[in-house]
């Protein structure tokens, strides 16, 4: 496939910017360090603008749902009204004002906390479903370990379980840490691989 001229331009910009930032960490040249810092600052500004783009996209999609009546349109309407109200309060009262903080403390925080509580129930149901779906040694070890950790962390009055607590500590400090480090090393290699593919222009998520 022939590459479009604009794509080549984007590719050159992306690779050059990536290399400047990367080399800025290894080569001790003041000019390179200044350029690196400038690029990182631009990236931060662009990321801020991207949040605005994200919010506009969110509003656009929900506006479409409200304007073309569909099931669940009421939720979209609620979102649009909540957005307008919160936006007006933040404009009038500033984002750190008492009204803005009241909305954060008494609306957003409880809603997110209840989702977290819902997640606990969801996971409990999922564990039983997992046994039904995939009854093998891995599932049994997974569930057994989860139960041991939970019981070992629970305080039961009048019940002293030093063996269980030691087992829990050993599980957390030895196999869990070893496994987590192994997974993190793999993820680290994956991150390097992704970075190299972007830097060499093999992956180009920006050429549209």
């Amino acid at each position: 496939m022939r590459r479009r001229p604009f794509s080549v331009f984007l590719l050159v910009i992306a690779i050059a910017s990536g290399l400047v930032v990367l080399l800025g960490y290894w080569i001790n040249l003041p000019a390179l360090a200044t350029l690196r810092d400038l690029f990182v600052r631009w990236a931060a500004i662009l990321a801020g603008m991207a949040v605005l783009v994200g919010i506009l996209n969110l509003l656009y999609v929900h506006w479409l749902k409200v304007s073309q009546p569909k099931p669940g349109g009421a939720y979209s309407l609620a979102l649009l009204i909540a957005f307008v109200l919160t936006f007006l309060v933040a404009i009038v009262d500033t984002p750190t004002g008492s009204w803005s903080l009241w909305i954060f403390r008494y609306v957003q925080l409880p809603v997110e906390a209840s989702l977290l509580a819902l997640l606990a129930i969801t996971l409990l149901v999922a564990v039983f479903r997992m046994l039904h779906r995939r009854f093998d040694w891995f599932s049994l070890v997974f569930i057994g370990t989860a139960i041991l950790i939970l019981v070992g962390s629970t305080y039961l009055p009048e019940v002293n379980m030093p063996v269980l607590q030691s087992l829990r500590t050993w599980l957390l400090q030895v196999p869990t840490v070893a496994g987590a480090r192994g997974i993190l090393l793999g993820i680290g290699i994956g991150v390097v691989a992704t970075g190299v593919r972007i830097l060499t222009g093999s992956d180009r998520p920006y050429e549209g």
Binding site: L58, V61, L115, V196, D203
Partner: protein, 258 residues
């Protein structure tokens, strides 16, 4: 000279990066001679990707869509890599499924990631020569905090007849809510993340979970480009090098040389 003082994090990092780049290029040019996609499957089969490939075909046959959640990790820092991998998977999946009756739905929890997802969707439709099938509403930012993102994406999952729900990107434990929503709608749920809490939650809630670095092999297993396959091969060799270095370190430590 003291070995540990000389081997600073920067030097190690540079060596790691250069080794990977060298291996990547060796395999990239070697790839042009022969495909080892089949070899890769035989060597290390990842069931999640095999099922995903089948599901894309089934979605087109059944006239149902696919939902792809690319997470809320953004592009800044180390979490950005998972987002970028999800975009390369999105490109392949959209290219394969965009000729069906239902367009794939993409949800994300970050504006920058959503902008790149929009670009990726355009590219996929352009490469498949069906640009007219593209809809602006198929790419949504459903919330900008992890849980608000999950709450919004759950509605998208429950809203329409979908064949499968793919979670690929940076997630936290909120991934459990998304997987559960897919399960409730009788969709196949395939999930992978770079976060440890998300991986353990996904193992319990998803039909197929991508553990460890399996997410980063997504491009190669979905047959994206030669570079992805070269990258997986280079990753494997680098992993063996790290294992040997760790073992050497253990032996040297036991011998009292470190």
């Amino acid at each position: 000279m003291n070995l540990s003082a000389w081997l600073s994090a920067e030097i190690l990092g540079l060596g790691f990066l250069l080794t990977f780049a060298l291996l990547f290029y060796i395999f990239y040019y070697w790839k042009h001679r022969a495909s080892y996609q089949k070899e890769l499957e035989e060597l290390r089969r990842i069931d999640a990707f095999t099922r995903l490939r089948k599901t894309i075909g089934q979605a087109i046959e059944n006239g149902r869509g696919l939902q792809i959640s690319i997470g809320s990790g953004g592009l800044n820092g180390i979490r950005g890599a998972a987002g970028l991998v999800s975009l390369s998977m999105l490109l392949v999946i959209t290219q394969k499924s965009c000729k069906g009756d239902q367009s794939p739905q993409v949800t994300s929890g970050d504006g920058a990631l959503a902008s790149l997802a929009q670009d990726t969707l355009h590219k996929a439709y352009r490469l498949a020569a069906v640009e007219s099938n593209s809809k602006a509403s198929q790419n949504q930012v459903t919330g900008i905090t992890p849980f608000s993102y999950a709450a919004g994406a759950m509605l998208t999952i429950l809203d329409q007849p979908l064949q499968a729900n793919l979670l690929a990107g940076n997630f936290g434990s909120e991934a459990g809510l998304l997987a559960e929503a897919g399960e409730r709608s009788s969709q196949l749920v395939i999930a992978g993340s770079d976060g440890l809490p998300a991986q353990s939650v996904m193992l319990a809630t998803a039909d197929d979970a991508l553990i460890g670095e399996e997410l980063f092999a997504g491009g190669a297993y979905l047959s994206a480009e030669p570079s992805h396959e070269a990258s997986v091969k280079a990753q494997d060799i680098l992993r063996w090098i790290i294992i040997l270095i760790i073992l050497a370190g253990v032996i040297l430590k036991l011998a009292g040389a470190l």
